[in-house]
């Protein structure tokens, strides 16, 4: 059985045109932007990564405002529409269903945790990973990548490097 050269890391983000992901290799971190039929790659060698910076964002708040406000408005409009048609009961039911859907989305969004931006900093560039938007995902990402960075930047040791496709020793 062949060993995969890259291991997928937590954090997949989708924009309007691309899917962003990060993969851990033996010597470097590979960030992939996938378009329909093309991929772009950025590589960050573990030995060159100087810092990982987490900045808080308002992603969760904005999403809650949009979903909550939009859902509330839609529920209200549906209720008024049905009521104007003479069927208040149907209006209540429709409003309740819409409110439940959007309320559930707000609840899930809240439970997913606060939003962050994760930036990898080297001597010559700083790159914000588009696929990481939640603190929980960012911490998982750091847990997977940090040992590799520290291993690559440590003094030459007697132990062998990690086998391809496997996480480095703790």
């Amino acid at each position: 059985m062949s060993v995969k050269p890259y291991i997928r890391l937590p954090g997949i983000g989708r924009s309007w045109v691309a899917v962003h992901g990060a993969w851990a290799g033996d010597t470097h971190l590979l960030c992939v932007e996938s378009y329909d039929f093309m991929e772009r790659y950025r590589r960050f060698y573990y030995a060159e990564i100087q810092a990982i910076v987490l900045e808080p964002t308002r992603h969760r708040l904005v999403t809650n405002l949009v979903a909550g406000g939009g859902g509330g408005l839609l529920a209200l409009m549906l209720g008024l529409l049905f009521t104007a048609e003479g069927d208040a009961r149907a209006g209540w039911i429709a409003s309740a269903v819409v409110a439940a859907i959007f309320g559930g989305a707000v609840l899930v969004n809240t439970l997913l945790g606060p939003g962050v931006k994760l930036t990898i900093v080297t001597a010559v560039q700083a790159y914000t990973l588009p696929g990481i938007r939640r603190r929980r995902t960012a911490l998982k990402f750091i847990d997977r990548v940090q040992p590799r960075i520290l291993y690559a930047q440590s003094a030459p040791a007697a132990s062998a490097p990690p086998a391809p496709g496997s996480p480095p020793p703790a």
Partner: protein, 196 residues
């Protein structure tokens, strides 16, 4: 120390890592809480390898700098290289010319910056017309052979580094073959109907 820097999302101020400590730091510009994890590379001084001059007649000279002593050889072309010209790459020593050649020919996967996923194109050509059913049938004469051609043409090309196998090629070409069979069958049926 050549510490990197990044731009704060809030105030767009360029923040140098040299001004930060590990852990929680407020942004010097707007005070946003930044969580920073610093690694040993931030304290590493940049090496400025310029190569040493030739000391005597018996020493080999760099291929690109005749006055500098050769300290290694390119593992690809064998040219002697001084410290300035020797590039550590994937565990080997290479010269800039071989590195550029590897980048252009895509023989070194670590240098590839972008790649067309021909296997995805084949999968689309093979599967989408079939899924679209009746209107898709009209394009079978094009997409079927195209899927097969692209499979043959690009089968041996390097895949995306994050894709493990070529299943898209296989599935796409099978569907393409099916489209071709459907086109031939329809053509034969039409011919028979005309000649009756």
């Amino acid at each position: 120390m050549t510490a990197g820097s990044f731009r704060c999302t809030g105030c767009r101020l360029e923040v140098s890592l040299g001004a930060l400590t590990a852990g929680a730091n407020p942004c010097p510009g707007c005070g946003r809480p930044l969580e920073v994890r610093l690694y040993p590379a931030v304290r590493r001084a940049a090496r400025a390898e310029t190569g040493s001059a030739l000391q005597g007649e018996g020493e080999s000279a760099c291929y690109f700098h005749a006055g500098k002593r050769a300290e290694s050889a390119c593992s690809h072309c064998g040219r002697f290289l001084c410290a300035l010209c020797a590039i550590d790459f994937a565990g080997e020593t290479r010269c800039a010319a071989c590195l550029e050649s590897a980048r252009r020919k895509e023989t070194a996967v670590q240098l590839v910056e972008r790649r067309v996923n021909h296997d995805s194109v084949v999968l689309l050509c093979g599967v989408l017309p079939v899924l679209v059913c009746y209107p898709g049938f009209l394009v079978y004469p094009v997409t079927g052979p195209l899927a097969l051609f692209l499979t043959v043409r690009h089968w041996s090309r390097p895949l995306s580094p994050v894709r493990a196998n070529r299943w898209r090629f296989v599935v796409g070409s099978l569907f393409g073959l099916g489209q071709l069979v459907a086109v031939v069958w329809a053509a034969v049926a039409l011919l028979r109907a005309i000649t009756k």
